[in-house]
Structure formats: structure tokens, C-alpha cells
Symmetry: none
Subunit: 204 residues, 4 copies
DNA sequence: TATGAATGAGCATTCATTCAT
DNA sequence: AATGAATGAATGCTCATTCAT
């Protein structure tokens, strides 16, 4: 049991540090944040951080891991599937677009920025977050295609386009687009319609 | 006219420096690149750079400006409109997705990463690149909606979704997605079909 | 007697630590070695070391002490005196030059380096190792001088020259001199001849 | 010409830095000295040092080089050879033992300490200082041996023993031996006699 | 007595920027 | 205008040492 307590302490301390890092990174960005900033925010000594993380980059890895975990927790694709294709799609967009809304937007900005530019983070991000999502989604789409619910277009590209759309919208939001800021909550409906039936008017 | 020559020299020197900066940033990233790296690549002294650019960030601003200019040059929306809505859409995707393909991908990675995180760059990027695109596109869409060529959904969001999709796909590519790398050239067709008619099977 | 057992335990633990320190210092040097390195090598916790040694320097002091003790143990000058002056001299060189040869060379390198530079160590080294040697040797030389076995030159300087010669040869060896490495075992004879009769040819 | 001035400035600045480094190293030792200490002593900024030396170790290399150069300048073996073997030997000892005496003793302590422990320095020291000395000396000894001036013992070992003796005496001095401190100036005579004719009494 | 997590002072090195020439 | 030597603030990281458990 003692070992379990040890481990719990370690997990708790790691989270304490990651909480602090997330907060400060979100405020100041990755590069402008110093280890000292994080230590102060966490109320511990600089050196202590290095008992739990190898270096500054490892803090980003840790944050990514937690984003991923919380994602996995919420991301119960199964629950989407209860309804039809349309409800599924809408639920997906709602989930994706609102999950970050809360307070994750700013840290997401930092994460994306750093992930783009750091190979190690990039590979982790792709392997742990992007790839699993695609793999899971492929199963569903495959099945729907077989049931003639969706067109049998190039599914793998379509999936990537849809998830890319969400990512791109988030980035446009982060760029300061006020239209998106105002109408963010309408997105699930608009996107769902667009993805389901296209933009072309049926009776031109 | 001497002033004109002076100005030409200045422009030439600025471009020389921006060429060097673009090349080195694309190779090493923004933060890891030193002013000395750029000066060496340009074959000039460190200090000379500061005669043409206020600081390191101004180099990114300059690069952004040039990306924008070259964009404007190629981006002759008019030429898209010659055909119908479908050809327009496909042409748009082809233009957007292949423009960067050549050798701009790596610098685009750096630009996006830095833009996300630097308010000054972000505002410039939004004002000079994103916003004008939206404004211009809005005109066209408005017109098509009136002609009942496209559905009169929330156009402003739809536009953002489409351009976001392109941005997101580029980022997914930059993250190392091999599927996209392989099938990049199929995207214009797939995306066009999806955007025009949606994914839902007409006869389920 | 319980105290005696206590003391034995303490001595045992101190030796365990000094063994580890000697090994790691010999491998990595004094400064590059961390307390953690030594603790790991000894199979104990970092903090435990501080129950037995005041600080890192005290470990060097401890190593010096043990070198000295083992020296004293082997260094039975009496046994040299059984023979004549020549055999004594040769035995001295052999003892001095081979004592370290085994595996002490590397730790000797570290010890000398640190002793040169650390006053506390230096004084201990001088007081416990160098000075006693000189004092003892002086007795013998004095006696041989009186017996007209050796010339009555400045004995105290001559003694220092001879022991300095040994020290200097060891350092030259440690510097990487391959000649010495190859012919190390010939040294006792060569040195003895030189010290006894000089280099000058008798019949030029 | 301008280039020559440039080079002179560089050499001057290097020497300014090495002077400062020598002084501070001699006072505080290598490890306890910070780059800032040296910069302050030299009256320049920390960063300037790195325009002239790659790192802290390079400063020691530079000091070694200068010691070597000044050695080469003074060390005119030829001048020794004018007299007979005895005068040569005595001159050698005098040169070796007094060259350092002035103010080089303390820096020599630091240099030896660091050289013992740093492979890069060690190899440089051996290659540039020790080896050339041995090579040069060998020539002379060879010649004297052929002229039956010196015994044809193992010259290479004898040479190493003699130079080792000098080195060892310096170290014993640096260890704080008061006898040596007092009688240092007598050493050339005592050592010469000992090396020429040995210690054994001729008429026991 | 043993532990090892926590501490935080300390330091080499980098690099954007300046400015005398 | 061009140079590039000089600057010095800034920071990630180490590690000897402490001390609560």
C-alpha cells in the first residue's frame, strides 16, 4: 500500500506542476515562460520541477498527455452513435467545438504553436491524438458507407477534411475572427448541414 | 529619380534579407534561428539587418507581407468565376492546396506557429490575409446565393468553415499525416464533391 | 561492548561509502561525480552519506586517510634496511612505483589534482603522508651519512628530490607518456643506479 | 595593413583576457572561478570572452599555450651546451626551477591540477610541452653518451626521471613543504651533484 | 539510522541589439 | 550604408545539502 501512496503523491505533484505550467503557458506562451514562473505558480522550488520532468519540453508533453486523457474521457464516440448519422455528426461538432471553448482555448493555442515546430511533440501529438481519432472514425464511416448512409467517396480524405475543418475553425477563432467568436454556437448546425447535404442549391 | 533608385536598392536589400530569413526560418524554425544565421545566409553583417528591419519579429512581418503579396498576385479570384460554381470551388481548392505545396510548406509551418503566439503578427496576419479573403469571398457567395446557386445558409460561417478546412488539412499534413501526403492531389476533387453535395447518400 | 559493535558498523558503512566514492571518483573525476553517483554505487540513499561524511570534500579526506593507512601498512621501512644501501634504495623505488600501479593510478590522479587545489586536503596530505615520510627517511639518511655510506650532501633536499622524482614519474605516466608505460618495471633498476652512482661516465 | 591591425587587436584582446584569467585562476582555482570573475578582472563583458574563446576550458588551453611559448622563448637549450656536462645540468635545473618561481607558481598549481584531470588539456600539455622537451633532450643525451660523457644507461628513462624530479619538487613545494621553500635556491647545486655523481660515498 | 523529496543558489553560455568606426 | 565587436540581460538546468518522515 505504501507504494501506492508514493505513487499517488508523485501523480499529485506532477499534476500540481502541470496545472501551474498550463496556466502560465496559456498566459505567456511557451518560450516566454521560465521554469521559475512555473515553480512560483506551483509554489515550489525550481529544482523540484526537474524531479518530475526531464526538461521544459517534457512539461508540454505532459500537458499534451493530459489533454489527450481528458479527451479520451469525454470522447465517448459510442454515445454519438445512438442516433442517426445527422445527430452523430452534429454531436461530434458540438463536442469538438465546445470541449476547448471553456478555458482550453488559450493553452490549445500554445500547444498547436509548439507542436507545429517541435518534432518530438509533433510525433506524440500525432500518434496519441490525431491518429487514434482517425482510426476510430474510419470504423464508423466504413460501416455507414456499407449501409449506404454515406456516399462511398474517399472516406479517409473526407474524415481528414472534416476534422481539419474543426481544427482550422479553432485556429481562425484564435486568430481573432470576431464573426466566429460571435456565432460559435451556431457552428454545429451549420457545419452539419453543410457536411450532410452540401452547399449547392437543389433548385437553382 | 535618384530617390527611386535609392528606394529600389532598399527594396532589393530587404528582399535579399527576407529571402535569407525565409530560407533559414524554414530550415531551423523561428526561435532557433539567430540573426547571425540570417546575416551569414544573406552574406551581410549582423548589424546591416537592423538597418532594414527593426527586430527579429519584423522579419516575420516582412515574410508575412511577401506571402500575402504573392498570394494577391496569384489569387485572381476573377479567373475562378469564369466557370460555374463547381469549377470555381475546385479551382479554389486546387489553388489553395497546391500554392503552398512547392516549397512554402515549411515556412508556412513556422509562420503559423509564430502567428498563433505573437499578437502583433496575428493581427497583421488576420488584417492583411484572412480578413480580405473573407471579405472578397463574401461578395461572391452573396451573389450566388441571390442567384440560388448556393443555399442561403449562414454564408459567413460556411466560408470560414471551408477556408478553415484548407488550413486544417495543411496543418494535418504538417503534423506528418501520411495519408494526406500520399493523396494530396486528390483533395480538390474530394473536397469539391463534399462541399457541393454533402456526404449523405441520396438513396440510402 | 555494544558500542564496539556500533563502531564497527560505522566503520563498515564508512568503508562501503569510501569504496564507492573511490571507484566513481577514479572513473569520472572529483567534480563530475555527484553525491548521487556515489550513493547509487554504494546502494544507499544520498542522505545517508551525510550521516558519515560532512560533505563531498570529506570523502576525499577519507580516501586520503585510507591511502595513507594502506601505505603505512605496506610501508615497512624496516624491512628495507635489512640489506645494504643499494638494495634499500631499489626496494624503495620498487615499492613506491608499483604500489600505485595496480588500480590506484586513476584515483591517485584525482587525489593529486584535488590536493593541489584544496588547502584543507593539501594540509592533510602533507601532514599525514609527505611529512612523516620525510621525517622517517631523514633518520635513515642521517645514520648512513654518519656511517659514510652516503655522501654528506644536503640530505633533506636530496630526500625531497628522490621522492619528488617518484611523484614526478607517476605524473608523467598519468600524462600519457608511453615510454614510461612500456618500461615502468625497469625504473627501479635505472633509478637506483642513477641515484647511487650518478650519470657521469667514470672514464670519459 | 588593415588586416594586420585587426589581427593585432584580436591578439591584444586575447592576451587581455588570458591575463585576467591567469590572475583569477591563480587566486581562486579553475572551478571556483566564474566567467564573470574573469570578465570583471579584464574590465569587459561576459559575452566578449566568448568572442575569443569557445568556453572556459579553452581559456586554460590558452594559458597553457602561453606558458609554452614563454617557455620556448627562454628555453634556449643551445645556450646550456656551451659549457660542459656539469654546467649544462646545473643550468637546466636553475632554469627549470626558477622560471616558475616568480609568479607562475600559483597558476602552475592550477594548470597541473586541471591537466591531470582533463583529457583535452592533458593531451595538449603532453604534445606541446612534455614531448618536445623529451625529444630535444634525447638528442643531447645521445650525443653525450656517444662521447662517453654520460653513462649509456637507459637514457629515455633517465631523462624522464630527471624532468620528473623537477616536476615533483615543484609539486612538493606547492604542497607547502617549508624545507623546499627555504632552500629552493640551493637545489640546482644539490641536484647537479646528485645527478652527476650519485649519492654513494666513494670512500665508505 | 535511513530515506529521498525538496531546496535554491549558482553558472556557463547564448544572442538580440547597439554603436563607434 | 555597412560592419562586426561589444554588450549584458536572461535562463535552463545541476547538484550539494537539508530535514521531515
Amino acid at each position: 500500500m505504501k507504494e501506492s501512496i508514493q505513487e499517488q503523491l508523485i501523480v499529485a505533484r506532477r499534476n500540481q506542476i502541470l496545472d501551474a505550467a498550463t496556466k502560465v503557458f496559456a498566459q505567456k506562451g511557451f518560450h516566454p515562460t521560465t521554469i521559475r514562473d512555473i515553480a512560483r505558480e506551483a509554489g515550489i522550488a525550481d529544482g523540484t520541477i526537474y524531479n518530475y520532468f526531464e526538461n521544459k519540453t517534457a512539461l508540454m508533453l505532459g500537458i499534451l498527455d493530459r489533454l489527450n486523457e481528458s479527451d479520451q474521457r469525454h470522447e465517448d464516440f459510442a454515445k454519438f452513435t445512438e442516433g442517426d448519422f445527422r445527430s452523430f455528426t452534429k454531436a461530434y461538432f458540438r463536442h469538438r467545438l465546445t470541449a476547448l471553448k471553456a478555458d482550453n482555448f488559450e493553452i490549445f493555442r500554445i500547444v498547436i504553436s509548439e507542436v507545429l515546430v517541435n518534432r518530438e511533440l509533433r510525433e506524440l501529438y500525432y500518434r496519441k491524438i490525431i491518429e487514434p481519432t482517425f482510426t476510430m472514425a474510419e470504423t464508423y464511416f466504413q460501416q455507414w458507407a456499407e449501409q449506404h448512409i454515406v456516399k462511398s467517396t474517399n472516406m479517409r480524405l473526407a474524415m481528414r477534411a472534416i476534422s481539419g475543418m474543426v481544427l482550422g475553425l479553432i485556429i481562425e477563432y484564435l486568430m481573432g475572427d470576431t464573426t466566429l467568436e460571435t456565432a460559435w454556437d451556431e457552428l454545429p448546425d451549420v457545419l452539419t448541414d453543410m457536411i450532410m447535404d452540401g452547399l449547392r442549391s437543389e433548385k437553382p
